[in-house]
């Protein structure tokens, strides 16, 4: 049993980092991520952790210093949002190629322009192709546990890939919730320490890291990266089982809510999944069979498991909090792909909601269910929730 604390999602990420006590934390402030690094800096200032904290001059340098520290042999962590992620994109893309298991909190915020500090998923959806493990969190509790889980999955010898733990800007990062924090000693035993194997600081065994690789070998490097990514599923399950021994919870690739006999299911990431559950309950109360699926592990994407989970569902609506202009929205696209293999494919509808932090209401998701059940769908064109006429 843990101790319940009334904290925000940002503080939950910082709590996980406090327990992990990384060798190095590299920080640059950006709204709405800032409270994570502020909280962690306080732990450093008060001697609660003995991490070497590097307050850099930009996000590009943040990820660069994290890469330097991690290559040197340290366990390094960072956090960012939106524009910060965009600025560090170059180094974010280099990190998995260098096989560095850096874990970073991403507090999801809309990308400019127009500038906006509130939540949507346009930041993370711009980096899903570069090779980070992507984990999404509905609430502060999940942020905390997913951060612990991510460290172990990323650093596993079979993986050695970086991981981002996502949470919704403001909605999760700044809202206070009761969060159960588990015993420090148990958690520290679970996360362990990073191996110094192949560390750059091992001067007795000099290594050259990040060489120029030409067409004769580059392809093999990338293939090896993909091999490691494909092993995340089994490692995630194993590590999840270990974490369950402390938390008593399960760590599936995605959560299903009342989908067993559902005739219509909505798919939605992060905090809006909580809203969707309330909508499911409301519609169920009217005697209609509806359910929800919340992706958690988004990279690698569990196509097979998603397909099996939705095999029996006649209508699937996918709610995206970002757009891929001129193409299917990112989450919708994955689910269309996953379900294509089914002999009897469901009808599908893409919805865009919540851009730039616009709230989504239970009544709006209830209306989505009405539409899905009505059969008046247009799978080729996305529809917009809560948009001005």
């Amino acid at each position: 049993m843990g101790v319940k604390k009334a904290i925000t999602g940002a503080q939950a990420a910082a709590e996980a980092m406090r327990q992990i006590n990384p060798d190095v934390v590299v920080a640059y402030p950006i709204t709405p991520q800032t409270p994570i690094v502020e909280q962690f800096a306080k732990y450093v200032a008060d001697g609660i952790v003995d991490t070497e904290m590097v307050p850099v001059e930009s996000e590009h340098s943040a990820m660069s210093a994290a890469v330097g520290a991690e290559t040197a042999g340290a366990r390094a962590m960072s956090a960012t949002s939106s524009q910060g992620l965009a600025l560090m994109w170059e180094v974010v893309a280099a990190t998995p190629g260098l096989r560095l298991p850096i874990v970073m909190s991403l507090v999801n915020r809309a990308l400019s322009a127009p500038i906006n500090i509130h939540c949507d998923h346009s930041d993370v959806m711009g980096v899903t192709t570069v090779g980070w493990i992507q984990i999404f969190s509905e609430n502060a509790q999940e942020v905390y546990e997913n951060t612990l889980l991510a460290i172990r999955v990323a650093e596993d010898k079979r993986i050695q890939l970086p991981a981002m733990v996502n949470q919704d800007g403001f909605i999760t990062s700044h809202a206070v919730e009761p969060v159960e924090i588990f015993d420090d000693a148990l958690v520290r035993k679970f996360v362990g320490v990073r191996s110094l194997d192949r560390a750059l600081l091992d001067v007795e065994h000099p290594r050259s890291v990040g060489p120029l690789v030409l067409p004769d070998y580059y392809f093999e490097f990338k293939r090896a990266q993909e091999e490691a990514m494909s092993k995340v599923f089994e490692v995630y399950r194993e590590v999840g089982t270990e974490l369950s021994a402390i938390t008593g919870k399960q760590y599936p690739f995605f959560e299903t809510y009342r989908t067993d006999d559902a005739e219509a299911v909505v798919v939605v990431l992060n905090s809006a999944a909580g809203t969707a559950k309330a909508a499911v309950d409301a519609v169920r109360a009217q005697g209609k069979k509806v359910g929800m699926l919340k992706p958690i592990l988004f990279r690698p994407f569990p196509y097979t498991e998603v397909r099996d989970a939705l095999r029996h569902v006649p209508v699937v609506g996918v709610l995206d909090r970002s757009m891929d202009f001129g193409a299917y929205a990112p989450v919708y696209s994955e689910f269309r792909n996953a379900l294509w293999e089914l002999d009897k494919r469901p009808s599908m509808q893409s919805y865009i909601y919540g851009l730039g932090g616009r709230d989504i209401m239970t009544t709006e998701i209830e209306a989505v269910f009405e539409e899905l059940l009505s059969g008046e769908l247009d799978p080729e064109h996305q529809r917009y929730i809560g948009l001005r006429g």
């Binding site: 190095v24 660069s64 280099a94 560390a199 050259s208 070998y217």
Partner: protein
């Protein structure tokens, strides 16, 4: 201070930190430059390279010329990667995971330093990480075929600011990286040249031993893109110093000290002659460019002398 022979033994002996088999252009000065700097460290050295000539010619996978820990990430971040390496070093040492001392050396060309890596360098200097930043300055993007950088001198023709019917090449003077670095109030900044091994070695040693960040700027005449006979690299380096185009000096704890004062300053034409990038300056109509260049060099030299004489601390 070791003799030239002793330095040569350190740079090419069995413990050499960088070895033969690299792919530098024949006549490239980066080889002797990096060897001399690495030999000046009395501790193991961790090297962080920016993207550029040095990185490309020493590492094409599956080969490496490095016999010391070496890493490269991207073009503009050598200083911030070095920040992370230094932070890791401190953390792991504090936690008893490693022992022994190391020196940390970040290396970039002028493009990766004056231009795209400028912010990362400034940030790392301001945070006072204990590392040395070495810039081998060949006055432009030479790895990719002579494009203009913030270090390209006035009047030079580059592929992005070429000389032409209405252009004499680069119309601006170069940035003064040494003084900018010194403005961060760091303990050591040095300017050296590849032909003067003893001076370079001494400055590298001071940089490694400084109590905080150090910056070392070294002129690296590029035989390929300044287009001169590969046998003349050291000659051009020497001429750059003898013309006061590239004075050898250092700023130690804020105090300027000029290492070498040419007794009889040669005219700048001596340095410009034979380099393709300055060839157009000798054509009729461009005389004023050389005159202006000479004036700027003399003014800068007079200013440097005054800085030294004044004893004013940076």
């Amino acid at each position: 201070m070791p003799t030239l022979q002793e330095i040569a033994l350190k740079t090419d002996g069995v413990d050499a930190r960088i070895v033969s088999g690299h792919r530098m252009c024949s006549g490239c000065g980066i080889g002797p430059l990096i060897k001399t700097v690495l030999a000046a460290s009395d501790k193991p050295v961790i090297v962080i390279s920016a993207t550029g000539c040095l990185e490309v010619v020493t590492t094409i996978y599956p080969f490496t010329a490095w016999n010391t820990p070496w890493m490269h990430v991207t073009f503009e971040n050598a200083a911030s990667v070095a920040s992370g390496v230094e932070a890791a070093y401190k953390a792991l040492k504090r936690r008893g995971k490693i022992d022994g001392d190391v020196n940390i050396l970040a290396v970039g060309g002028d493009g990766g330093t004056y231009d795209i890596g400028f912010q990362a360098l400034s940030g790392a200097l301001e945070r006072r990480h204990k590392f040395m930043y070495l810039v081998y300055d060949n006055e432009g993007y030479m790895n990719t075929g002579n494009q203009r950088s913030g270090a390209t001198p006035f009047g030079a023709s580059t592929t992005t600011v070429p000389a032409g019917k209405v252009s004499f090449g680069k119309p601006q003077w170069r940035k003064n990286l040494v003084e900018i670095a010194a403005a961060h109030r760091i303990p050591y900044v040095g300017q050296a040249a590849v032909h003067n091994t003893l001076d370079l070695y001494k400055k590298a040693q001071k940089g490694f031993n400084a109590d905080g960040p150090a910056v070392l700027a070294v002129l690296q005449p590029c035989t390929t893109n300044w287009s001169f006979d590969p046998a003349l690299t050291m000659q051009y380096s020497k001429l750059a110093v003898e013309t006061n185009f590239w004075p050898l000096y250092e700023i130690e704890n804020g105090f300027v000290h000029i290492s070498t004062k040419p007794s009889n300053r040669k005219p700048i034409e001596e340095f410009l002659k034979g380099q393709t990038r300055f060839r157009h300056l000798f054509k009729p109509g461009n005389e004023h460019v050389i005159v202006e260049m000479q004036k700027m060099i003399d003014d800068e030299w007079a200013r440097l002398l005054k800085l030294e004489e004044s004893g004013i601390q940076f």
